[in-house]
Symmetry: C2
Subunit: 217 residues, 2 copies
């Protein structure tokens, strides 16, 4: 299935993983086809939103049948490039770094974790999950030998900007940023995907407060 | 400043924290006023998007002047309820749980962390940051004594659903979910805010693949 080359909004891209997750669930329950209305109900989206998103990504869906669950899932995974086998390294093996190495299903996302690096001699040489933590010299060697597609930045907030600049100077072009702080300028050509825990918590707080306002006193 | 009681989209709510973060940065650079155009440029949004979002949340902005940076920041914080002082507990003190307790600025988000709980005797009684990890009996007591506004769920993926159900039975009404798995039904009245690392990584992969497609071979 060929994906159309039209301008796709960031929100649509972000909904893709949501669709894929739900489709996998449906597949494991052996659901074969689904309408945009049903999918919308499950995800809290309107059916027109779903149809608009999916038509932007390719020619999925058959009139009167809906979407074939396994084929739609595979099609959307192709759009996301889940099978494109990108490489990653992780920099900063503190609690978050360890949690990702030990628990995050990189391979399911089509990403291969090549290595993890830290400057703390207390952690260098230690084994975390299946990865041996290496030092800064090894990081330089890694970047010279094979620049990873993705660098996962898990250093402390204080070290975030200096480390990001150091990495970019050595050829890093995409950063998955767990430092809870803004790194690099928005004009930088480097792709930065921020995991801002505080945005997520503040969104939850907003909904709690809205709910509390409606509650009779 | 009174906020209007109109229907606000989830995307607008999620952009609120983004605005507040940028406004704080501007305040620390002593910028006093900003136009929707300038703010849009900084955040990668259109000025009309900004005006639409901000007008949904309140009467901010003066014609010919733009938005006063400190007053807009305070106004948006009020909308988010940053000053409403919600309480939280954390359940499951593994790597992610530790990372949150040690590094996450709860108080800056207006949230007070009351306690952290785990069933592993190896961690119960240990001090993490300023918190002493307590056992399940203490968790039951906490929930009976004072149901927290927010429960931060950091248990393993396998334990996620059982723990969520257990918590909800004991009166938990809002969960900040770090288990990387879906918990509870979408029809549950419990508020669930998911931190899905994989959605974020897959979004980054999408942009990397798009960039690679454009690259001359």
């Amino acid at each position: 299935m060929k994906s159309k080359r039209i301008k796709i909004s960031d929100n649509s891209v972000r909904r893709l993983s949501k669709y894929i997750r739900k489709l996998k669930e449906l597949e494991s329950s052996e659901v074969e086809a689904i309408s945009s209305m049903e999918l919308g109900d499950m995800l809290g989206l309107t059916s027109s939103q779903i149809r608009q998103d999916l038509s932007a990504f390719g020619d999925f869906g058959l009139p009167g049948y809906g979407y074939g669950v396994p084929s739609l899932r595979r099609g959307l995974e192709d759009v996301l490039g889940v099978n494109s086998k990108l490489t990653a390294i992780l920099v900063g093996v503190g609690n978050i770094g360890k949690a990702l190495i030990e628990n995050f299903p990189f391979s399911k996302c089509g990403v291969q974790l090549l290595g993890a690096f830290d400057i703390d001699p207390g952690i260098v040489g230690e084994r975390v999950g299946e990865i041996m933590v290496q030092n800064r010299i090894a990081l330089d060697e890694q970047l010279t030998r094979e620049a990873p597609d993705i660098t996962i930045l898990c250093v402390t907030r204080d070290a975030a900007n200096d480390t990001a600049n150091y990495l970019v100077e050595r050829g890093v072009t995409a950063i998955w940023n767990f430092t809870n702080t803004e790194i690099l300028s928005p004009y930088s050509p480097v792709l930065v995907e921020n995991v801002h825990f505080s945005d997520s918590l503040q969104t939850l707080c907003y909904y709690i407060n809205e709910k509390n306002k409606k509650r009779p006193n």
